[in-house]
Amino acid sequence: MRNALKVLTLMLAVLMFMVPCYAGDTDGTLMMATTTSTDNTGLLDYLAPYFEKDTGIDLRWTAVGTGKALRLGQNCDVDVLLVHAPPAEKQYVADGYGINRLEVMYNDFVIIGPPSDPAGVAGKSVTAAMKAIAEAQAVFASRGDDSGTNKKEITLWDNAGMGVPEKVAWYRQTGQGMLATINIAAEQSAYTMTDRGTYIKYSHNAGGNPPLNILVEGDDILKNQYSVIAVNPANCSDVNFIDAMTFAKWLTRTETQERIGAFELLGKKLFIPNAH
């Protein structure tokens, strides 16, 4: 019995030392707050090794909604941001929390829904589609989490002249990430708005035969711009500004832009580089 205990303790001790302790070691690391879409699609896992090879900087990121990402930067907890809510970002830079905002890439938002299309939105303009959904009281799943996607969706309701539908049975705020929200929409045969990248990833997960289809797309208002912003050292003295600038420069240089353009799933591009 004692021996068994000894073996168990020894096994645990070995496990503890298998991975070196990372606590407090922040030299040569760049901490980024980014949105769930760049992480969930696998783009960052694809880019990070190239970045480390080119610059020797270890990139770490926490994937949260754009609202929380901006907040983490404001509190000086990260060095750089990769986010997608241009109006909020411009305000953020104007408030002095961020500096050197550079556009990196875009994809677009699409409205997806069940093939039966109960509100008859297929092929309509965005504004007409939003009105049709509200009129038909067709179930619509919203992120409801102040993310970049959620902010965009709110703009769409505003543009349709009705504001965000609150406290109505057909408008469901999930409070979760994009893929989780698409899954919820699929379960309820609901409409939802998503970035195209996440939708492609979702189709990929569903074996290329997803239960929800793209119904509305191609409107200018649906453009989804991603930008990199360095946390302002004037606001945060301890921030790793040099590496943040290196990262911004690296993301926008030609080779990286080409790599972003080459990132595909199911033979479809997820992001279109537009730094220059």
Binding site: M1, L5, M16, V19, N40, R60, N75, I182, N183
Partner: protein, 228 residues
């Protein structure tokens, strides 16, 4: 439904093939749990024992507070700890945010009331039972104290197990304070949350099974400890 069966198979594959990401999450989970359990047991057992050993003024009030803290929501603890260890917070200098020790701080706050409360209850029970017997056998106060401490060991192991279960399975603190950073602060539970968010349900189930395997080993260890 079929993703559940798929998850079972995947769990075995992940463990046997030594999938690097899974093992990294397992190691992070064990390190965080070790740290927070060590801290909460070292603090909680003596405090819980004192709280349960004999009546003193204000004991019931303290007990009320400790028992109330049993209901601490993990996300709330995560937010509180974040407020303190954020760069802008009073303890920002320590650089604990997005680190394993940072998560452990939050989990210690979560586990401490559990250890204290359950250890106090166990002590109350054994000390009350032993006092009369031992006094009548002529034991002095010191002997009574030490015997009570020894006799409470089963209850204390149980307290540790309950706390360990809460700590190892929580998501709120790990997510908020750790940030779910791959290779660094991604625990099994934050990995489950992530995979579920990504719609990869089978992977989520597989990681859940992995966590249950770890839980089984912990309980096996505790059983051996009790049997002695």
């Amino acid at each position: 439904m079929e993703f559940i069966a798929e998850g079972f198979v995947k769990a075995v594959v992940l463990l046997l093939q030594g999938d690097a990401e899974t093992w990294s999450a397992i190691v992070v989970t064990l390190r965080v749990t070790m740290l927070s359990m060590t801290a909460s047991l070292l603090l909680g057992i003596p405090l819980g024992f004192l709280l349960g050993y004999q009546p003193f003024a204000g004991r019931r009030q303290i007990r009320m507070v400790v028992d109330t803290l049993l209901f601490l929501p993990t996300v709330f603890v995560g937010l509180l700890v974040y407020a303190f260890i954020s760069s802008r917070g009073p303890l920002g200098e320590a650089g604990l945010l997005f680190t394993v020790p940072g998560i452990a701080v939050g989990q210690t706050i979560l586990a401490l009331p559990i250890v204290m409360s359950l250890a106090a209850s166990a002590t109350e029970e054994t000390a009350g039972r032993l006092r009369v017997t031992l006094m009548s056998l002529g034991a002095n106060r010191r002997q009574l104290f030490l015997t009570s401490l020894w006799e409470t060991r089963q209850g204390i192991v149980a307290a540790g197990l309950v706390a360990c279960g809460r700590v190892m399975t929580e998501v709120g603190i790990s997510m908020m304070v750790g940030g779910n950073i791959k290779w660094h602060t991604r625990t099994i539970t934050t990995a489950i949350a992530l995979e579920t968010n990504k719609g990869l349900f089978a992977m989520g189930i597989a990681l859940g099974m992995v966590l249950m395997v770890i839980a089984f080993s912990v309980n096996l260890g505790a059983m051996l400890l009790k049997r002695k």
